[in-house]
């Protein structure tokens, strides 16, 4: 069920994302560089819609999210470092992971290479990076 739902959602978003040039880091970048709000509006629309839709789903009886407990300091630091890295490198790479998927599908070979690295990165993280982190940070997890 989850597989079919995500496949359908992916096709819809891929289509809309190609037509609208949607990017989740491009909004902040464009606003800073040329005060262009086009992509920033998409980013805000996503956040606000999800923020409204979560309680709406709970109201119709679907399982809700949370409550979220306080995270430990190490998790918070790692989340902040990871988030900063995603923002910084995505900006250098000229687009968030979603935008790179869309670009790869419209024939951009650089983005296809990005995706190859993206998929390899998942294996690298779980096979080497995460175990190494766990050894360096025994208190984590």
């Amino acid at each position: 069920m989850a597989a079919i739902a995500t496949l359908v959602a992916g096709v819809v978003l891929g289509y809309l994302g190609q037509r609208s040039r949607m990017c989740f880091v491009g909004g902040i970048r464009d606003f800073m560089l040329v005060r262009d709000r086009y992509l920033l509006r998409g980013l805000i629309a996503f956040g606000v819609t999800a923020w409204l839709a979560f309680p709406l789903m709970t109201a119709i009886g679907a399982p809700g999210v949370g409550p979220f407990g306080a995270s430990d300091v190490v998790t918070v630091i790692l989340t902040a470092c990871g988030g900063f890295g995603v923002g910084y490198i995505s900006t250098l790479a000229n687009g968030c992971p979603f935008r790179q998927h869309v670009l790869a599908a419209q024939g951009v070979i650089s983005s296809a290479a990005y995706l190859a690295g993206f998929l390899a990165g998942a294996v690298i993280f779980h096979a080497w990076a995460a175990p190494l982190l766990l050894r360096l940070l025994p208190a984590w997890g």
Partner: protein, 170 residues
């Protein structure tokens, strides 16, 4: 031929075509992300309905686990069968690019450089527990760690943009 005709007098098909904006994509994306998590079992963890990094990780790790019998990490939502978001996005974007005539082979940057960017972004995203989309989704769900992650992401974009601007004006 079509473009020549369109440029002379916009045909009915051009006028009727609705322009899809980023705002529309954002609204549909936000809705689909929440609905996938709430109604279609794309959970646990919470706020997992849409993520390009985690879902790609699930797909790759699940496939390698199935093929090679390894024990790479997969989110509980993808234990039985993996989520297929990345494949969906690629298919949808390919359809849009083909029907609009925007599909074109091109190579603006060196593939090795972007390959390394891909590795780094995936590692940072898995460290943070989500790509830019899921960090925003977790923020909307009200998760404190997600908010910190999204704040850090915005800071990263701002610092990188300043760096790019400084480099070009130097």
């Amino acid at each position: 031929m079509a473009t020549v005709v369109d440029s002379i007098a916009p045909s009915r098909s051009v006028r009727r075509r609705v322009r899809i904006t980023a705002t529309m994509t954002g609204i549909v994306g936000g809705l689909l992300a929440v609905i996938a998590g709430a109604l279609f079992d794309v959970r646990p963890p919470d706020a997992y309905g849409l993520c390009m990094a985690c879902h790609a990780r699930d797909l790759v790790d699940w496939t390698i686990n199935a093929a090679a019998g390894t024990q790479l990490t997969v989110a509980p939502a993808s234990l039985v069968f993996p989520v297929l978001t990345p494949i969906g996005v690629l298919l949808g974007a390919l359809m849009a690019a083909r029907t609009s005539g925007e599909f074109r082979w091109q190579q603006p940057e060196h593939p090795l450089k972007t390959f390394l960017y891909g590795i780094l972004v995936m590692n940072c995203a898995l460290l943070a527990g989500g790509c830019s989309i899921r960090l925003l989704l977790r923020t909307s769900a009200g998760e404190p760690a997600g908010m910190i992650g999204f704040g850090a992401l915005a800071a990263g974009v701002i610092v990188a943009t300043q760096w790019l601007r400084w480099r070009t004006t130097r």
